[in-house]
Symmetry: none
DNA sequence: CAAATAATAGCATGAATATGCTATTCCCGG
DNA sequence: CCGGGAATAGCATATTCATGCTATTATTTG
């Protein structure tokens, strides 16, 4: 079965180029190439694509808004965003809107087909330079840049992760095959190393510091 | 100039395979293939690679810890993580630690070389399935969707955030100017709404769900 | 080898927590 | 104006936790 693709792209020659690239390739079928999102819902309903190739920069309804609309109406639809700019903000907004992947327009035709295929299979293809931006977003957003500076032993990490799961001393003792007093002992050490004095604080610190 | 690559991989045949793949390809040079990270710093200082291919799962110092160490000592070094598992948590930790890219071991040899090249050029190559996980992490941890899906009242959220800070009932009572029994009352309701039965679980749920 | 550390285990005790009840007041929507 | 939820408050009690001690064994390391 061919992968049905719909293209939304305002630039005429690009649009036609993509149409021909997709239709001219085995395993792919371009069921529609539209210049704007004015009839977005209807276009999709009529052509029933599996994957949409969406330009981010478009007059009228822009690509990001379009993704938001499509996500609600057609949750199954995969959306591959395409852009000329490596703009962190647009990438971020596209991701939040629910785009499956994000590639640059400088991507070669054969790679574009690969990407469409990967999108269809549930992957999230991204141009490496886009991925760099995404990683930056992840690390910047995470207030937890400190990873295990607490020097916990393996056993202590194990016990701590049990605490995070909400287990009582008794349960931890049973699941780790040690006595409850040993559990106490480990938790003592954990508290010292984390500089806390209660289960709650330990759990909060553990999760926030990503040491679980 | 060839791209100098160092490999850290505990599996012998994989390690040798990578060594030969890299050395046998134009534009690449494998300056070292190590089975563990025991002499991590020295190995890098001696071989001066531009890119490191690092296995995540390794005995002794694991890949993620290794990345942390390398980031500090050699900020310029690019690190490409390799793993058999698509484990969100490990991917996330690798990213936080500062890995440049993340690929699966099922990646074909020619793609591995592409990925090394892209890493060297500042990109962040990822296997599409890994990228899917990363996108999920981004959307999940975005303070964007900080929706109160548990339907906690304002007061309850306030009490809950006190719990997360590690405060005792007594302290919460004082800081909120209510009696300790009222605190108990609120915490009862919180437990019901979060479907938990202990302070620890409540804190874990609160932090993980971003409802604080 | 001696010192240090991790993991194990025990005991005791005061403090904190979880949960079973009940009850009053205020405010909001039907 | 009545019912219901939210915030307040109280009491009782069993369970769990935090932390004060000590002690053995194995492994690591200087």
């Amino acid at each position: 079965m061919d992968i049905k693709v719909a293209v939304f792209e305002d630039n005429k020659s690009l649009r036609q180029g993509l149409y021909q690239l997709i239709n001219g390739s085995d395993g792919f079928e371009c069921v529609g190439a539209f210049e704007d999102c004015m009839n977005l819902i209807k276009d999709i309903e009529d052509t029933k694509p599996k994957v949409v190739l969406m330009d981010i920069e478009m007059p009228g309804i822009n690509g990001i808004e379009a993704v938001n609309i499509l996500r609600q109406k057609f949750p199954e639809l995969k959306i591959l965003m395409q852009t000329i700019f490596e703009d962190s903000d647009k990438i971020f907004k596209s991701i939040l809107a629910g785009a499956s992947g994000y590639i640059l327009k400088t991507t070669s035709p054969s790679r574009i087909l690969d990407f469409i295929k990967e999108t269809c299979e549930g992957g999230a293809p991204m141009s490496p330079s886009v991925a760099t931006k995404v990683l930056k977003i992840v690390t910047q957003q995470s207030p937890f840049l400190k990873v295990n500076s607490f020097n916990l032993s393996e056993r202590e990490k194990e016990i701590l992760s049990c605490l995070v799961k909400g287990m009582s001393y008794k349960l931890i003792a049973d699941s780790c095959f040690i006595s409850i007093d040993t559990v106490r002992g480990h938790i003592r050490s954990i508290y010292e190393k984390l500089h806390v004095h209660s289960k709650g604080e330990a759990i909060a610190t553990a999760i926030k510091s990503n040491i679980i």
